[in-house]
């Protein structure tokens, strides 16, 4: 194959860590090439060097046979490289057309640009209204903005950093169709993802990184997802094994809960009832923005209701706030890691104390026992393999996956009676995700009731005892997860009305 991008011996070191060491790979013309690796394997640093955001310490790149050393993203774009970022690089207060214009070298006047956006978005099956404000768009629509911004430049190489992590299954299939169309037109794609099945479905070649080094390259279509995962991790992968155990009594029950959403783009909960038993994992699926955050808030006590709307072991607790619920044994780990689950600029010790002081006896007469808090934080770090220089590090300084492990671990180790988690493995690599899921299963096996809210259906099928879907704030009737087919799940996800009609 005729190589478009050739990377040879790239190295980048940051103080205390070598992010990339002697990395070489190539991407052919019209090839969809995957970069695989765990969190912190150096994938993002690598593509940032290709996109000109980070300068390599050593090594060289060639693009289309010519030496290529971009000093900044503008040069990369001029050479025909475009990138869709993991965390969308969009401006919420600006319109779609303005956002697109910002990603182009020489944008045409706004009106002409708006026309071209409509044209290109129709051609690739990604409908978009150029005049809308990005802040009003869904995650999938936002990604379309980024993709169209790239497509308008006719890129030779499109870099996509974890493009599907925030998309619904339907949106993923639309995205894949677009990418296949691009590939057929001869565009090369460098694709970064944790989701191995996606890579097997889409990519022609894969380079696997571990701890900043290339450990293997292969054709992902010839390998199983398990093989790929084991190459990434370097050891054999443990699949979470549900333990056989009896279900106990109802631990937490919601009764016809209706809550108006406080957030600008959130969904209101409508008449939601559910029961979760001891020893059970209740999986709640659904597309983001259908009331997940609100549901978690109702269970954690952030939103209080009339007393008899929420029962814990038969006692009404609807009016009880979060700390009192913690004392009663109801813990929660929200989705948004920075700012909701953890205070970004506070240390891990402080973050541990903020949630665990109630149950772990860290406060006496209004004074915090910092020794205990530190011990607890270190316990979480050791138990859940959180990679950080120490418990004194700020939460912000951890990578997303590592912070997620800390946040989940902090709640699990408090031995809750009821644990509610939202997106427990979002942005976490395969082996860490497996260990988080295992921990949730173990917790349930030890007699706790666990509610897992997630958009990752594979995850829910793997660990749930029962499964329910959340759609526009309505919760479907929960069904036993074993034996549910993808079609049935799809119906539940899309058709809350159908189920009720």
């Amino acid at each position: 194959m005729n190589a478009l991008l050739k990377v040879e011996g790239l190295r980048k070191a940051y103080p205390g860590v070598v992010a990339n060491d002697d990395v070489s790979f190539q991407v052919g013309r019209g090839e969809v090439h995957a970069l695989l690796g765990e969190n912190g394997a150096g994938k993002s640093t690598l593509v940032k060097m290709v996109y000109g955001l980070v300068r390599p310490d050593a090594g060289q790149m060639t693009l289309g046979g010519e030496a290529y050393a971009p000093g900044n993203p503008n040069e990369a774009r001029q050479s025909g490289i475009a990138m869709v970022f993991q965390h969308f690089s969009l401006f919420e207060a600006l319109s779609v057309a303005e956002n697109v214009a910002l990603g182009m070298e020489n944008p045409p006047p706004m009106r002409a640009l708006a026309a071209r956006i409509s044209e290109v978005s129709q051609a690739y099956g990604l409908p978009l209204d150029p005049a809308r404000r990005v802040g009003d768009l869904s995650a999938g629509e936002r990604q379309r903005v980024e993709i169209i911004r790239c497509l308008l430049q006719d890129p030779k190489l499109l870099i996509m950093d974890e493009p599907t992590s925030v998309l619904t299954p339907q949106e993923v299939s639309v995205l894949f169709e677009t990418l296949r169309k691009l590939k057929a037109e001869g565009t090369s794609i460098l694709y970064i993802s944790h989701k191995l099945e996606e890579i097997r479905a889409l990519c022609d070649g894969a380079t696997i990184l571990r701890l900043g080094k290339v450990v293997a390259s292969c054709d992902p279509r010839e390998k199983s997802a398990r093989d790929l995962a084991e190459m990434m991790v370097g050891t054999e992968l443990a699949t979470p094994a549900p333990r056989d155990h009896e279900l106990g009594d109802v631990a937490l029950a919601l009764d016809a809960v209706t809550v108006a959403s406080g957030a600008a783009f959130g969904a209101s909960l409508r008449d939601v009832s559910l029961e979760v038993r001891r020893g059970e994992v209740l999986g709640i699926g659904g597309v983001a923005g259908n009331g997940q955050d609100e549901l978690l808030a109702v269970m954690s006590g952030e939103v209080t209701l009339a007393a008899d709307r929420v029962h814990l072991h038969g006692k009404p607790i609807g009016t009880v706030g979060p700390n009192a619920r913690r004392a009663l044994g109801v813990l929660a780990a929200p989705e948004e890691r920075l700012g909701h689950a953890a205070a970004p600029d506070m240390s891990l010790v402080e973050n541990a104390a903020l949630s665990a002081w109630v149950r772990m006896g860290m406060v006496r007469r209004g004074f915090i026992n910092w020794g205990k808090a530190r011990k607890y934080a270190e316990h979480v770090i050791a138990e859940f393999d959180v990679r950080t220089p120490g418990a004194g590090s700020a939460a912000r300084s951890l990578s997303g996956g590592n912070l997620q492990k800390f946040v989940i671990g902090r709640e699990i180790l408090q031995k809750p009676d009821v644990l509610v988690v939202n997106q427990p493995t979002w942005g976490v690599d395969a082996s860490a995700a497996a260990s988080i899921r295992q921990a949730l299963l173990d917790l349930a096996a030890d007699g706790a009731a666990v509610v897992v809210i997630s958009q990752d259906l594979d995850e829910l099928m793997e660990i749930s005892t029962r499964f329910a879907a959340l759609n526009e704030g309505r919760l479907s009737e929960p069904r036993a997860a074993a034996g549910l087919t993808i079609d049935e799940i799809g119906l539940m996800l899309g058709g809350a009305e159908v189920a009720h009609a």
Partner: protein
């Protein structure tokens, strides 16, 4: 009491004059804040502009050179703020407050030999006799050049932010500096330019006070106008048109209450003196009371420190 002594035409003409320093300072601050920088040093930059302009105008005899010097002096001060907050990553609120205190002090020092002197007078424009027209003449065609400049800037800033590419980049930087950086735009360059523009506007506004309105140098003569300008930017939801409205409202009530005082109206002077502040803020609060819209208009990165990670 004699309301007949208040001439509405002269009132409007003089409110435009009285409002101009605030309008200029607020427009400059609007651009600065749109780029994501909160500079609370407007008052300090205004007064440094007032004294720099005053000194140069007195020494050279040219008011025009005075205004240039005012802009220059305030830009230098604003760049101190820029270096501290953008390069040395100091806290913007604290640094801005410090800048105001520093500006008040340094202007008093600079102005020691200039108290009680009259600056060269700067003539109003006359537009070939159009100023003789009734009503519109004194209002539209007989103002000082800086008044026209300030009105031109309202349109200019609006047009710049709305239609030009560099205006779009400026808004993008203020909206999300990380995203702008990831796309390859210079966050620091944009912000330094915006800070300097804010400084220049505040400086010219200050000099208009010392060279035209008063015209004299006294310590602390800006008397809180910089703070009003800051408030107007926020309550105007970062829109140039509303900044104009807010500034003219403030200037108008100021002039009116002075006239009322002169007319001997039976309202305590203290109440009259506080009325411009109360009325301006009240009106702008009512206008911007739609919280969701106001939040959407505020630059999302306002006051946040940017540090490129690589």
């Amino acid at each position: 009491m004699d309301f007949g002594s208040i001439n509405p035409v002269l009132l409007i003409a003089s409110l435009m004059v009285a409002s101009t320093p605030i309008l200029l300072a607020a427009l400059g601050e609007l651009v600065t804040e749109k780029s994501g920088v909160l500079n609370l040093g407007v008052e300090g930059m205004m007064i440094v502009g007032a004294i720099s302009g005053f000194i140069v105008a007195v020494e050279t005899g040219s008011p025009a050179l005075g205004f240039v010097a005012a802009a220059f002096g305030a830009v230098v001060l604003s760049l101190i703020f820029g270096v501290l907050t953008q390069l040395l990553l100091s806290n913007q609120v604290a640094t801005g407050l410090g800048l105001t205190l520093f500006g008040l002090g340094v202007s008093a020092l600079m102005g020691q030999g200039y108290v009680g002197i009259r600056p060269p007078s700067s003539p109003r424009w006359e537009f070939f006799g159009l100023n003789e027209l009734p009503v519109v003449g004194p209002i539209l065609f007989n103002q000082h050049g800086v008044v026209y400049l300030s009105l031109g800037l309202v349109i200019g800033v609006w047009w710049y932010l709305r239609t030009t590419r560099s205006g779009l980049i400026l808004r993008a930087v203020g909206e999300s500096h990380e995203a702008a950086h990831a796309l390859g735009y210079s966050v620091l360059g944009t912000r330094f330019a915006a800070i300097a523009f804010g400084g220049a506007c505040a400086g010219i506004g200050g000099a208009f006070l010392s060279l035209v309105i008063v015209p004299q140098w006294t310590e602390g003569m800006t008397a809180g106008r910089g703070w009003i300008a800051l408030a107007i930017v926020v309550f105007a939801s970062w829109r140039p048109g509303r900044v104009l409205l807010g500034a003219y409202l403030f200037g108008g009530v100021t002039v009116l209450q002075l006239n009322l005082q002169a007319a001997g109206i039976a309202i305590p002077v203290e109440l009259l003196s506080m009325s411009p502040y109360l009325i301006t803020i009240l009106v702008l609060v009512v206008i911007s009371s739609d919280k969701r819209r106001a939040a959407a208009l505020a630059p999302a990165s306002l006051g946040r420190t940017f540090h490129a990670s690589s």
